[in-house]
Symmetry: C2
Subunit: 478 residues, 2 copies
């Protein structure tokens, strides 16, 4: 059977992913090495994702703010351990002026900065510096800050949405008076991320703590939201760090405690990014294109009037009327009255993953009927119903689609997680091409033999099992 996306997932998952992004018009590679341009349809999805995440972050008592893009290099020098994890591949600003030299614009040698600046790869350092001024007394605590910004980490092997040199994210940075509060906060944000993925993106995640080996540079504890793609590989979709007093000490975040003594604070940081878009694509899409959960679909319903030459106006008007009635119920509806052929319109919106498609033919209009098709199920869900029936059931139907998409992922996850008794068994599974997450005894992975397996199969420890932290999930990853 011909599919809209070639190659298919089973033929070549990685190429399918690239084709999917092109076919659904989400983004494209830019002329800037390793950076992407997010096109309007992709950005519209991201805006919906961001809005809902922002709402949940604010509900957790966090305030948004905005810190500088550039970070003085001295801030990195204060943070040897952090730097070891991050600073290697950063964009460095060394000049502040251009000059025409030999007919070509070049950095003006006279504008060389005494101290170079780094484009933020993450903002613990510059926000830590601000916190050292903003936090003076225990009354200033807790202080909970977040920013939605672009960051940059030079990427040698970029992939759209998954690894790009520049990406958009939210980074939260909270300060507390005690370690207990900080640790609880890191867990709380972790939990909020997990709920968000489930309730908004319709993705069930594997939630757990990173092992010592995989922790964020400078963190006491890192909690991660890991997700299983359709090819069985892992994607880390959001992390929350209990940073202990690491940054508080380096940046001198101190407060006058209730006892009147100066105390060092405790911080956390937590982030999610446009990487979630990559997960959304690789978890839900099929060989015909995107499948969007209704909550993040720019158009939850598309209405396509199947016009012949003579009835275009009346068909379009009829469709617009239904569109208006659905919008009045708070549903995002697109009525596609463009001059493309109907069959092309249908495929366009299949590829772009609109959750519910409505087709209206001339005879249907006369009977006040229309035909609906769910994107997640496809032609098997196709049915003709009355306009009234649609208007009464549309919201419920979208909720059902949202829930069903989650169920599919939950069921698939069960199949894609395998308990493994020992490393020999793990080696065999992987050699045989078994895909997914493998649950292994953590102690066993500290053996040199596991290092060999990591190398051989390109696997890594994803996170400890929350239900029994003596086990760790191991998988290939993005």
């Amino acid at each position: 059977m011909k599919t809209a996306i070639t190659p298919t997932r089973s033929e070549n998952f990685s190429e399918w992913y690239q084709s999917l992004i092109v076919a659904s018009d989400l983004a494209e590679n830019s002329p800037v090495r390793g950076c992407m341009t997010i096109k309007p349809y992709g950005w519209a999805i991201w805006e919906l994702m961001r809005e809902e995440m922002d709402r949940r972050i604010k509900a957790a008592g966090v305030q948004n703010a905005n810190f500088p893009l550039l970070i003085p290099i001295e801030f990195f020098n204060k943070e040897a351990e952090h730097v070891a994890g991050f600073a290697k591949e950063c964009a460095v600003v060394t000049h502040h002026r251009l000059k025409m030299i030999d007919g070509q614009l070049q950095p003006d040698p006279d504008s060389k900065l005494t101290e170079p600046y780094i484009i933020r790869p993450t903002s613990e350092t510059i926000i830590g510096d601000a916190m050292s001024r903003w936090v003076q007394s225990h009354r200033d605590l807790p202080l909970k800050l977040n920013q939605w910004v672009n960051v940059m980490r030079w990427e040698m092997r970029p992939r759209m949405f998954l690894r790009t040199s520049e990406f958009n994210w939210q980074e939260g940075h909270n300060v507390f008076a005690t370690h207990k509060e900080a640790n609880e906060d890191a867990r709380k944000m972790h939990k909020i991320y997990g709920e968000y993925m489930r309730e908004v993106l319709a993705i069930e995640s594997i939630m757990g703590e990173k092992t010592e080996e995989e922790r964020f540079a400078g963190a006491d504890k890192t909690y991660t939201v890991e997700q299983i793609m359709q090819d069985g590989k892992a994607l880390q979709a959001g992390t929350s760090h209990d940073l202990g007093q690491h940054f508080a000490k380096s940046f001198n975040i101190k407060f006058l405690g209730t006892s009147g003594k100066l105390e060092t604070a405790w911080t956390t940081s937590w982030g999610t990014s446009t990487r979630m878009m990559g997960s959304l694509l690789m978890v839900h899409s099929d060989d015909d294109g995107l499948i969007l959960p209704p909550m993040v679909a720019p158009h939850q319903i598309v209405i396509i009037p199947i016009v012949r030459d003579d009835d275009t106006l009346v068909m379009n008007n009829f469709s617009q009327e239904i569109g208006e009635k659905l919008r009045a119920k708070g549903i995002r509806v697109l009525v596609d009255t463009s001059d493309m052929r109907s069959a092309d319109k249908i495929w366009k919106w299949i590829k772009r993953g609109v959750p519910l498609r409505i087709e209206i033919g001339a005879r249907e209009m006369l009977n006040n009927n229309l035909t609906i098709t769910r994107r997640d199920i496809g032609r098997d869900s196709k049915q003709t119903i009355s306009v009234d029936e649609l208007l009464n059931s549309a919201s419920d139907l979208l909720n059902t689609i949202q829930k069903d998409m989650l169920s599919v992922v939950q069921e698939r996850n069960k199949i894609l997680i395998t308990d493994v008794a020992d490393l020999n068994k793990l080696d065999k599974y992987l050699t045989d091409g078994k895909i997914g997450f493998f649950r292994v005894n953590y102690e066993q992975t500290l053996d040199k033999k596991f290092d060999d397996l990591m190398e051989k199969h390109k696997i890594s420890r994803r996170c400890l099992d929350d239900k029994d932290p003596s086990y760790v999930f191991v998988a290939k990853s993005y």
Copy 2:
């Protein structure tokens, strides 16, 4: 009389402005040269401003997208005229890795980029490059794009919100098949900006076209929204450019026309930024702090229970109940139950410009009364009313405040615009210290003598008078 902000506006407007920002906790200078940190209260105002602008931009048929932060230097080389206007003071990225050398992190010499990148000062070039791929046929037109991003122009004399090296803005970039459409679009966005300033920020603007001398580098026509600050100086709050075929030619934006011939497109660009915050501050605030129009006030109403020691709980509960009832009407309400002294709370929220303040004393609570004070009018507006009366009138009262604030600005503008017969008269007015905008015959400003006056009084041409373009408005400016 003691004021909350010192110095006062009349003592030293420029220092007053700095003090105002500190007192209202909007922002602070950052450790990065010329860059500011926008604190939570400042950012909350900006989010409201942005949300409403975004809504209007989308209503104009524009789609948001996201383009790279970095621009290849070759794109600037394509654009000699544009560069002359912009590229001089830009942040230049020359390396992509740091290395520890002699115990200090430094740009790794091995990571030097063959072609440096510029942090975008504006994105006509990189968006023009994308448009050359996205626009193929007349069916792809018009294409209307916008992005909300940070940009950077190295500033030697930074001032918070007015001139910072990094700032946040929206930049719109539209493409059309004909010059007529492009010019109409530039005027349309100009009009939308003017309406936004009036309806949302309660600022009446002087709307007009920039003279040839003051036009954006690369524009055929530039339309500007100029505003008059309380010290009579001008602030340019938003510009819209008819770019002709300037960028379309440089970046090869061509389309197959209806006639089947390849044609060159016509583009516009239009932008507003966090600079609007500076205008909001300098137009509306007084010597006691900020005065926010209700539409962009994070808290439209603050409720302050005037507690004594023994009644804190019951007073706070009573206040919270009223707060809930107001929120149910869609009003943004803060009930300040913090443990500050009541008098300190009152001053805190005066300084932060909350439009309506409610104080509730113990006796008032018993009588189901409360005391309201409008921030824009102050103590003369103080009155005790019943809780029911407040609940019934609160939304209307906020609308009235919004309108009254606009009227104040409209009346003040009349006083601050002076018709001037000739340059001698202009010289005399300025020498005598008269403030505001001066309306002068444009032809006269082409005389060498006007150059001397510009130099002497630090004035500039702001825009032609829309009502009679043979006149130009002249003023000192931010």
